[in-house]
């Protein structure tokens, strides 16, 4: 998940809270506190004061920023949640935002607020932009479900409208450009239009945000206007909007931004959203919005999941000092998440927060006590028997990658166009060297032989490993087969050598077999056999064709054996 960059001074000031004197936090103390946010300190530059922190939790976008990390630590130190009056108390709205009909087909939802009284600093602006990018990129799936716009508030005249327009009807100067462009031109020419245009492509009308005077704020989710949508250091009146395809995600993202700006000293005023269609929030609501609802959880559920009788007092203290609103009554607690979070799917999510808040060291490990019998699958047992016998036959075990190329598995083996060339192929190939799964082991061993002409001879190698055999009748379109492959290579390698190994191997495994001639292109004609046991083909062996050896640039004769270990399991 995301790795973010932040300034140590900025973090320390935010941890102290508004009006408090920040103090230097030793890095080891910081690392301890980062456990509260599932964060890991990845780097520290003592010259610039930059800290790099990786955040693990993909369901907690509120933590992907300096303000969020500081908030979680600050709450823990103060033992209670920060107060954000704009979430809970009725506020005077700063203005209205009117949603036009028809947007439900392309990008239906919007949320907005104003933030006044925080004078934007250079490091504060860097954090705002980083948060905007991380949220839109990762949480918003590259702006598809959520994108965020920040504006200077002063020039905006309410009500703002969220409209649908024809691509050629509206022109404005986008960020990063000098001239006015139509929406169509932006999609074709502007780097952001090229990068994100596919999100709105296929619609004959496009979304646009304009104010009462018709000034364009932005073309969401592509680009802001240069005049209004370029926040600069020193600005102290901001307008924030979020658009997207999911009502909850849009509302949550705005809540995070509102809390972040409030933490930096801004006064947040809501914006009233007017929707042409009824939503979960109705036709009119104002954002930020506290959409959370209290959830009543039996104390037993928490205690039994944690294995520790914490009691109502400790549970409620733990949750309060993690930002929850908590009311406890007897053996039940009613909990509600702070509005910048929306990750409570199940009681277990509360259970984890209790444990994180108290620290995992609070819970003494105890051994599971129930008795179980251990063991290996029959296939693994058979595979191990085969491996031990092969070692006794003086073969060196090899482990190879299962993924490889068709050229190695089929082409070099002279199998192209034959029934033996069927392999499981990958659709999204990254490198031609790794484009399919092996269907037999011999090519893996020949790869070793190719690299080992300088190792002293004879070479006797084997691998017991998995291969994938395409099979339409299998539920996943292929069978995973555990296979023995063996190769002997030296100046005098010949059929009877590998035949003797097979003979002895199957003698000890008590599987009588016969060899039937097989015309297999990888082997010399008349020197290859199908291994048949109990009327079933279980493998093959033979002298490798000189052309195969040439393809692999192998300079000595080689013989090979393939045996399906799965087939050794059935009744004889």
């Amino acid at each position: 998940m995301p790795t973010i960059s932040l300034q140590r001074d900025d973090l320390e000031a935010l941890i102290a809270g508004p009006g408090e004197e920040p103090s230097r936090i030793p890095l080891d103390q910081l690392e301890q506190w980062l456990m509260l946010v599932k964060g890991e300190l990845k780097g520290h530059n003592s010259d610039t004061g930059e800290l790099r922190i990786e955040l693990q939790d993909s369901n907690r976008p509120d933590l992907w920023c300096c303000e969020g990390i500081a908030r979680q630590i600050r709450i823990k130190r103060q033992g209670k949640a920060s107060a954000y009056p704009f979430f809970t108390k009725q506020q005077r709205v700063a203005g209205k935002l009117v949603v036009a009909p028809g947007l439900d087909k392309i990008r239906p939802y919007v949320a907005a607020c104003t933030a006044v009284g925080y004078r934007v600093t250079a490091s504060g602006l860097a954090q705002l932009i980083q948060t905007q990018e991380k949220l839109a990129d990762i949480f918003g799936r590259k702006r598809r479900s959520v994108s965020i716009g920040l504006y200077r508030l002063a020039p905006i005249v309410f009500p703002v409208s969220y409209d649908l327009v024809k691509p050629d009807d509206v022109r404005f100067t986008p960020l990063g450009m000098e001239t006015m462009m139509t929406l169509r031109e932006i999609l074709m020419v502007h780097p952001k239009g090229v990068e994100y245009g596919n999100i709105v492509s296929g619609h004959d009308q496009l979304p646009v945000l304009r104010d009462a005077k018709g000034q364009v704020l932005s073309f969401p989710p592509i680009i802001n206007s240069r005049e209004i949508g370029e926040v600069q250091v020193g600005d102290h009146e901001l307008f924030v909007e979020v658009t997207g395809t999911d009502l909850w995600m849009v509302a949550l993202t705005l809540n995070i931004f509102a809390a972040n700006l409030a933490d930096r000293g801004a006064v947040i005023s809501p914006v009233e959203i007017q929707s042409p269609v009824k939503t979960t929030f109705g036709r009119r609501w104002s954002t930020p919005i506290d959409f959370g609802a209290p959830r009543t959880i039996p104390l037993d559920a928490i205690e039994s999941a944690l294995g520790e009788a914490l009691g109502a007092k400790e549970v409620s203290a733990a949750l309060k000092s993690y930002g929850y609103v908590v009311k406890s009554a007897g053996r039940k607690v009613a909990v509600q998440l702070p509005p910048y979070r929306n990750d409570l799917l199940h009681t277990v999510d509360v259970v984890e927060d209790v444990a994180i808040s108290q620290g995992y060291a609070r819970f003494p490990p105890v051994m599971p006590s129930q008795f179980t019998v251990g063991g290996l699958s029959r296939l693994e047992q058979m595979a191990d028997r085969v491996r031990h016998l092969m070692v006794g036959l003086e073969f060196q075990e090899i482990i190879s990658n299962i993924m490889g190329s068709q050229h190695d598995f089929c082409g070099k083996m002279r199998l192209e166009g034959t029934e033996w060339a069927k392999v499981v192929e990958v659709d999204n190939v990254m490198s031609l060297n790794y484009s399919c799964l092996r269907q037999w082991i011999t090519p893996s061993l020949l790869q070793v032989e190719t690299n080992s002409s300088r190792a002293f001879y004879p070479h006797r190698m084997f691998e017991v490993g998995e291969v994938a055999v395409p099979d339409r009748s299998a539920d996943v379109g292929s069978r995973t087969v555990t296979m023995l492959g063996a190769v002997i290579a030296h100046a005098g390698a010949h059929f009877s050598e590998i035949h003797s190994c097979l003979d002895l191997l199957l003698y000890y495994l008590d599987r009588p077999f016969t060899l039937e001639p097989v015309a297999h292109p990888s082997f010399l004609d008349g020197r290859a056999g199908k291994i048949v046991s109990n009327g079933q083909a279980i493998g093959l062996l033979g002298e490798l064709h000189p052309e195969v050896l040439e393809h692999w640039q192998i300079g000595v004769p080689a013989v090979a054996l393939e045996l399906e270990i799965d087939r050794l399991l059935g009744e004889v």
Binding site: T372, L376, S377, E380, V391, E394, D427, E449, A468
Partner: protein, 514 residues
């Protein structure tokens, strides 16, 4: 004395037989019947042991034919050919110039002028007006000596002293010297040494003659055993400090040995092995693990998709319905669900297994025992560039523990056990972690004797949204161990690709310390 090689004994005994006239190598070869190479080896050994000493060193000059000499023998030397050309011309009455001889006989100008000079000096030819050569009919001593030497030396090299003085002079004039390699003869110095026993050598030799040498043998044979003849033999002692000749063993791959040990540990802790398939549906690889279909880790850049067939025909019921419901509304599991419309077609999409947890999900659905402990060492595939820390496919050691006594504390207890048994770690630290399918989730760090603090694995309690749709009603631990770094330290390698090396010499010599 104990260390005498049979060859040395033979030489020592031969020397005792000729106490008065110290023998040369040639003499010794005769008296011992040894090959020259064996003999000189034995003599050098004895000299090194100071059992024999050099009595005298004489230098002989040995004359022999060079390859040019061989040619001269067959096709005659320049002087012979010039003389014979002059005589032929005399008989036919033709005029013969030096240039004629050069072109006719295809000789080097320097050879011709040298031969003409010698023949003129000896009075065998005359130079007349116009630079023509005429035979006088007299013999040339040099030409005759040349022929005699060529004939004598053709049959073998001989000591220079064996030739008469005139022949010796011709020999020396026509021997290969520095600056003139194109000559028919060469003269080499040969040092002939004669040897005698030192006092220590005499002692050893006397001992040998008393005990007899025939007793010493190097190899015990079936015949010696059968006839009991070994009783009268002595067995030569070996120089056992020498390095042993190299052989190749049949043996397990060291990485597999490591994994076998992990397997043994898990089985001995009561874990049952489970197996799965290399190709999985997105359903079992991710949906059943409550990873929403929009989860970033399900992106095209994280998982390999199968080309053909792209989809499984069906997903087993009731799991498809139950997992769909839990994704959409959390129904049945006391959850809110993810609140999106589940795409059943997407669930059928075939992928290369990206996490061993897919095997755990299948095992739970197939009716895992309760209480039950399971593990798998499953090959998994990630869409990553291959480098020193990323392999195209790799082993994941994963598993589950189901039981009514499972909770957060028993989860930590189990991880403690893993740390102790699998990593031999005494110090363990638990950190909050995030996995899409567990809550609470833990990351376990252990203090490794060589690596310091390292992440050993991750674990957690399966979310009820995972277990409930699969028909499991007790808490289940899901755990995974990241053992590759530990294996690399145990095998002394630094590149993860070396775990799957294709270099036989490397595999033959790799060994683990675990």
């Amino acid at each position: 004395m104990d260390n005498l090689h049979p060859l040395e004994s033979k030489v020592l005994l031969a020397l005792t037989r000729q106490p008065d006239s110290p023998p040369t190598l040639d003499h010794l070869a005769e008296s011992t019947g040894l090959e020259p190479s064996q003999l000189s080896m034995a003599v050098e050994w004895l000299l090194a042991k100071s059992l024999i000493a050099v009595h005298a060193e004489t230098v002989a000059h040995i004359a022999s034919l060079t390859p040019i000499g061989e040619v001269f023998f067959e096709k005659y030397s320049p002087i012979e050919r010039v003389l014979s050309a002059a005589r032929d011309a005399g008989q036919t009455g033709k005029r013969l110039t030096i240039q004629d001889i050069q072109s006719k006989e295809a000789l080097e100008p320097s050879d011709v002028s040298k031969a003409v000079g010698t023949l003129k000096k000896e009075g065998a030819i005359l130079i007349v007006q116009g630079g023509c050569i005429e035979s006088t009919g007299r013999n040339s001593a040099t030409a005759e000596a040349m022929r005699a030497l060529l004939q004598e030396l053709r049959s073998g090299s001989r000591e220079q002293q064996a030739f008469s003085e005139p022949l010796r002079n011709v020999l020396q004039q026509h021997a290969v010297k520095r600056g003139n390699a194109r000559e028919p003869f060469r003269i080499d110095e040969r040092v002939t040494r004669s040897f005698l026993l030192t006092p220590a050598g005499q002692e050893v030799a006397q001992h040998l003659s008393r005990e007899g040498v025939a007793e010493e043998v190097s190899q015990l044979t079936p015949e010696l055993l059968k006839e009991g003849a070994w009783r009268t033999k002595r067995f030569r002692k070996y120089t056992i400090s020498l390095r042993a000749p190299r052989i190749a063993a049949g043996k397990r791959h060291p990485y597999r040995e490591f994994l076998d040990l992990v397997k043994l540990k898990l089985v001995s802790m009561g874990f049952q092995e489970m197996r799965g398939t290399l190709v999985e549906t997105e359903f079992w690889n991710m949906d059943a693990l409550f990873m929403p279909q929009f989860h970033p880790a399900r992106d095209i850049h994280d998982v390999y998709f199968v080309k053909d067939p792209t989809h499984a025909p069906t997903i087993a019921e009731p799991y498809l319905t139950q997992v769909t419901r839990v994704h959409e509304q959390g129904m049945g599991a006391g959850s809110t669900g993810w609140g999106y419309t589940f795409d059943a077609e997407r669930a059928k999409r075939l992928v290369l297994r990206s996490q061993g947890t897919a095997v755990s999900a299948r095992t739970l659905a197939a009716g895992a025992s309760v209480p039950g402990k399971y593990f798998s060492i499953a090959r998994c595939f990630r869409y990553d560039q291959v480098d020193a820390t990323h392999a195209t496919d790799f082993f994941q050691v994963e598993g589950i523990v189901a039981g009514s006594d499972i909770n957060f504390r028993t989860l930590l207890g189990l991880l403690n056990l893993f740390a102790r048994e699998v990593a031999q770690a005494k110090e363990v630290k638990f950190l909050p972690a995030y996995f899409p399918f567990t809550e609470p989730s833990v990351e376990m760090h252990v203090r490794h004797p060589k690596l310091g603090w390292m992440e050993l694995g991750g674990a957690g309690l399966f979310r009820p949204e995972v277990t409930t749709p699969l028909g499991v009603s007790v808490p289940v631990i899901a755990w995974g161990l990241g053992l590759d770094r530990m294996a690399m330290v145990a095998l002394g390698i630094h590149d993860i690709r070396d775990l799957f090396s294709a270099d036989l010499e490397f595999i033959r010599t790799m060994r683990g310390s675990f």
